[in-house]
Subunit: 208 residues, 2 copies
DNA sequence: ATTTTGTTTGTCCATTTGGTAAAAATTGCT
DNA sequence: AGCAATTTTTACCAAATGGACAAACAAAAT
């Protein structure tokens, strides 16, 4: 049996380095042009290597995309995982919103990568959405529902509250072009202003 | 001088019909696969005509895309235009949110088309964004700011309030795949639930 | 009816793109 | 050093795609 990059657990230093380099470059390219809008050549040259060389590590374009999405899903959902059922409702949600907004600011490429994938109907990670993602959301929605029941949070539809938080925070990464255009040339304070605004909106909107 | 479909004002019945047919088909295809992911062949066959025939009406793929975006921007911004400075703040915003959500429900393809364009950095309508769109938003932001000044609305950053409304409502069109996955197979009431949730969130969040 | 104008089709082409195969170069190990 | 495994390059291919062109066809105008 031949030992292949994809199948073998034992990976060389060069393999590790190059796979990392490829994924980083692919994130840059995919997040900017979408899956179909990106070419292997673009990714390869962004990674400073030849196309066949890149294909030595990932045999298909789709493999790179999948690897990226899988690797990112965990990081992306970390803030929601951190929502503590034993904490105080308002501060917990407040912290969640703040964390999500920070991620939109610090990892806009990741956000856009996901946005692109979902926009196209989630052809590559549909299973992840209706599986692990749904489970996590359902679990946290229950937590929120119990907070509502206990009167520690204004009545609201938990799932849709989570959607609202996703939408408002990721908006600043996914629709950055629009935000910049509307706010005028450079809008250096846009994330700070957004933080203030979202905090006020949700805290007032959710206070019992 | 030859009279061309693109340059002449005088258009025949067949021109009008076919251009309409092409734009409708293109909306279907572009909104599903994005600009680069869509082929002229797909659009042509969706319109039930041959590729060269389609290219007779729109000489370049990009022309179709541009025509679509231009035609849609007006419709898309109509709800914001309808925000009445002389109306009552809360009901005005309430109606705006409701209208925007209805548009996400009734015109998801249009929403996704825009989302795709903005995600890629708005290469085709950047000018529209920083021109007419910015002006409209600035104008309405002033209205909101004056409401805040008069104490008829909770303090908030007007531009970001508008962003929040865009984000939360369009989320149900743009991220439909995710919403469906998370809510489970068929989620027939998702728009009704969303309407209720967003209404509560924003009305509580914005009440003075 | 004939000419002019508008519409449609068939054919073709250059480029781009995802991917392959095998040779050449490099690295790691003993 | 010398050998095997890994990595990189060169050359190549088939399919897909955007678009050009002229001939054939239909509709209007005269």
């Amino acid at each position: 049996m031949k030992s292949r990059a994809a199948t073998t657990k034992r990976r060389t230093r060069i393999q590790r380095e190059n796979e990392e380099l490829i994924l980083e470059s692919a994130l840059e390219v995919f997040s900017k042009h979408g899956f179909r809008g990106s070419t292997i050549d673009q990714i390869a040259s962004a990674a400073g290597m030849s196309k066949p060389n890149l294909l030595y590590y990932f045999r298909r374009k789709e493999d790179i995309h999948r690897a990226l999405l899988n690797r990112l899903l965990d990081t992306w959902l970390a803030p929601l995982r951190a929502l503590d059922p034993k904490g105080d409702p308002l501060p917990e949600i407040q912290a969640y919103i703040a964390r999500k907004l920070e991620m939109a600011r610090d990892y806009p490429r990741e956000s856009r990568l996901f946005a692109n994938e979902i926009l196209q109907g989630a052809p590559h990670i549909g299973d992840e959405l209706s599986g692990p993602l749904k489970e996590l959301v359902d679990e946290k929605a229950k937590v929120i529902a119990s907070w509502v029941d206990e009167g520690r949070l204004a009545p609201c539809h938990p799932h849709h509250l989570i959607f609202s938080i996703w939408a408002t925070t990721q908006h600043y990464a996914d629709f950055d072009a629009q935000v910049r255009s509307v706010l005028g040339r450079a809008a250096p304070a846009r994330f700070a202003d957004a933080a203030e605004h979202l905090d006020a909106l949700f805290m007032r909107g959710l206070a019992p």
